[in-house]
């Protein structure tokens, strides 16, 4: 795509009264400010969720109960999951969407800027509510991030109401964010920016936003049922009153499975943007990428019960959900092959964003394969609720989603801050992360296959050696993220001046504006020319 740069570089509108200090951030309706807020918020949540994981790994460093009580251990695993899913990964992608989508489609801002402000600023309250329950008599939620009834109803420790309200607010925030993205993409593309010319990150987040508005309301519904079951005497999931606890799992996973694609589709978009830039080739199979993303999204609605193979489903149900799940490997495989084909015979260079992207492709594929193993009903009976499952979803969420977030941050950081990041520190961050993350999660496969159950604070002696290495990997991975914090802060404060287009192979409208990106970009829409 070629574009003329216009005078977008100097578009500082003098007539806007810019509040400064805290008010700038509280009242901002600027997509770049809100994107920044989302990204910082998600990083803080990553550190909090990570700190909880550190305590979990410290407890599991050796067999027996050392540091925490079993009930508190349950609170740790629950809040770790909730914070990482709803607080770290999802807001980080929304942050990218806010920053990049208007610039990528040549729009001056998001379509609904005031709602944008609101959708961010309710988030800290949601997590404030959730985390505050740690300091209450009841303790934090202890029923797992999947909050299965009756653990969260009949056997709740009293934290259900706080949990439900926190999830409601997170859901409202996500839905507002998603509506904003869809309206922006549908109505505000620059003239000539047809759907099939949109950068792939825009496409993947467009589809993700549809998933969000389809399933977040279902999550809101199921937590509402939970609330009334616990406090108002309804019996949605209570067998004593004619309800069914297994139905909880059906409704939850009807939300839950699309949710996992909500957390990975934007990652596909980021990686599909970065790999062509450093392979100096066009993305191989652009339209097949779009169709693959859409098919993954559609299939995600009919596979939910693969989380429930051990609930006593009839054979037909098991076969149906098994085959549908395995079908998802086809569009996902299309994507992986497209990335590899993009790199094939390209003029590769290995800057940090590319390193993270290549690590993503390899390690996400490992997570995908263990997912295929879990999709096989007969073997799932062995793997269910073991560390194999933990290994699987951490490979797709940490070395998948989180690595793509790192890749995207390094890729666009020069555009955001106007400075290049410190190369050697960033290399340290990459290599420490990629080595420690495998030490952390790879042995979990073996632990799971050998039968170590998840969510239990103690384990049998034969698992001791592996768990020690896993914990060491965990501490190393956690500390490595402080290097990332240092890189980002250094980059904001200064560093080598970044060119408008610091990556020579990069494509897209965001590189046609100055670095750092001016506060207002594309107040006049850019002209999109055919290639």
């Amino acid at each position: 795509m070629t574009t003329d740069t216009l005078e977008n570089t100097e578009h500082h509108d003098e007539h806007h009264d810019q509040p400064t200090g805290i008010k700038r951030w509280l009242f901002t309706t600027n997509h770049k400010d809100i994107g920044t807020l989302y990204l910082w918020f998600s990083f803080i949540m990553l550190l909090i969720g990570g700190a909880l994981a550190m305590v979990i790994r410290a407890e599991l460093f050796q067999p027996g109960l050392q540091i925490v009580e079993p009930d508190f251990f349950n609170q740790l695993t629950t809040t770790h999951g909730l914070i990482m899913v709803f607080g770290a990964i999802m807001p980080a992608f929304t942050g990218f969407a806010n920053w990049m989508i208007p610039m990528m489609i040549g729009a001056p801002d998001m379509a609904l800027p005031r709602m944008n402000n609101w959708s961010f600023w309710i988030l800290p309250f949601a997590f404030g509510i959730l985390l505050s329950s740690f300091f209450m008599e009841s303790g934090a939620p202890n029923f797992g991030w999947t909050f299965y009834a009756p653990l969260s109803t009949t056997y709740s420790n009293g934290s259900t109401a706080f949990f439900v309200f926190a999830v409601h607010i997170m859901g409202i925030s996500s839905i507002m964010g998603a509506i904003n993205v869809i309206v922006t993409i549908m109505n505000m593309r620059a003239p000539g920016m047809t759907y099939m010319k949109m950068p792939l990150f825009v496409w993947t987040f467009f589809i993700t936003a549809y998933l969000l508005i389809a399933v977040m309301p279902v999550l809101a519904g199921v937590v509402t049922m939970l609330l009334t079951d616990t406090y108002f005497g309804t019996s949605f999931f209570d067998a004593a009153g004619g309800g069914d606890p297994v139905m909880f799992q059906h409704i939850f996973w009807f939300f839950g499975h699309p949710e996992v694609y909500i957390m990975i589709l934007p990652a596909f978009g980021i990686v599909s943007t970065i790999i062509p830039a450093f392979a100096r080739k066009k993305l191989f199979g652009y339209s097949s990428m779009v169709y693959a993303t859409a098919s993954i999204a559609l299939l995600s609605f009919i596979v939910w019960a693969h989380h429930m193979f051990t609930t006593g489903m009839p054979l037909f149900g098991e076969l149906f959900f098994m085959y549908c799940t395995m079908l998802i490997a086809v569009p996902t495989g299309v994507k992986v092959f497209n990335w590899v084909a993009t790199m094939w015979k390209g003029s590769l260079s290995f800057e940090i964003p590319m390193l993270f992207s290549i690590a993503f492709v390899i390690l996400f594929t490992i997570g995908g394969f263990s997912g295929l193993m879990l999709a096989l009903t007969p073997v799932d009976f062995q793997y269910h609720d073991t560390y194999f499952v933990v290994a699987h979803f951490h490979y797709v969420l940490v070395t998948g989603s989180l690595f793509s977030i790192f890749a995207g941050t390094y890729y666009w950081l020069p555009k955001w801050t106007g400075h290049m990041y410190n190369q050697s520190l960033a290399h340290w961050h990459f290599w420490c992360s990629v080595i420690s993350v495998n030490l952390l999660f790879f042995p979990m496969h073996f632990l799971g296959l050998a039968g170590m159950p998840r969510r239990i604070p103690d384990y049998a002696l034969q698992f001791a050696d592996f768990n020690k290495w896993v914990s060491i990997g965990g501490f190393a991975f956690g500390l490595s993220q402080l290097i990332f914090l240092a890189v980002v802060i250094k980059c904001i404060k200064g560093g080598e001046k970044a060119a408008d287009k610091p990556w020579d192979g990069a494509q897209g409208l965001e590189w046609t504006v100055a670095s750092p990106a001016p506060y207002h970009t594309f107040s006049t829409p850019p002209a999109i020319k055919d290639e």
Partner: protein, 183 residues
Amino acid sequence: MTSETPAPVNHKATVKKLMLVVVSMFGFGFALVPLYDVFCDITGLNGKTNDEAVEYTADGIDTSRTVTVQFITHNAKQIPWKFKPLVQHIKVHPGEQKVVKFYAKNQASEPIVGQAVPSVSPGIAAGYFQKIECFCFERQPLQANEEVEMALQFYVDVELPKDISTLTLSYTLYDISEKIASL
């Protein structure tokens, strides 16, 4: 460059459509509850048996087959009752009516209302296990230390798939005193 901006698009219309999706998906979440029941009812999945008495229809007794029916009981959340089947298992021919008794005793010093919830395993057989009369259709209010023998009259449908030779009927007993009081 002319500062010609495209005509402002009506965001409201798009937002309204999207809000409609959100609201209907919220409704869909709740619609899943009756849909789930209907689906399980039609397919006979999840081990739920009939919750109202059925008439005994004498389609004849298939004496060529014998099915073992096992009875087990659980007390949910430590309800202080003694609750057990008086026979552990019986053999029946499909189509043949049988009556079995269950024993319950409230061992607490206050009255408690109990509710037994049945479930059949394997789940696929639940649709063929027909209860003509069952104590699980009613609540069981027992005074302190009161004991009772409760009857279950049932037959196994002759259409029961050939590969099933053993059924397990499980009753879980719940304390619903509080639930009733809150109504």
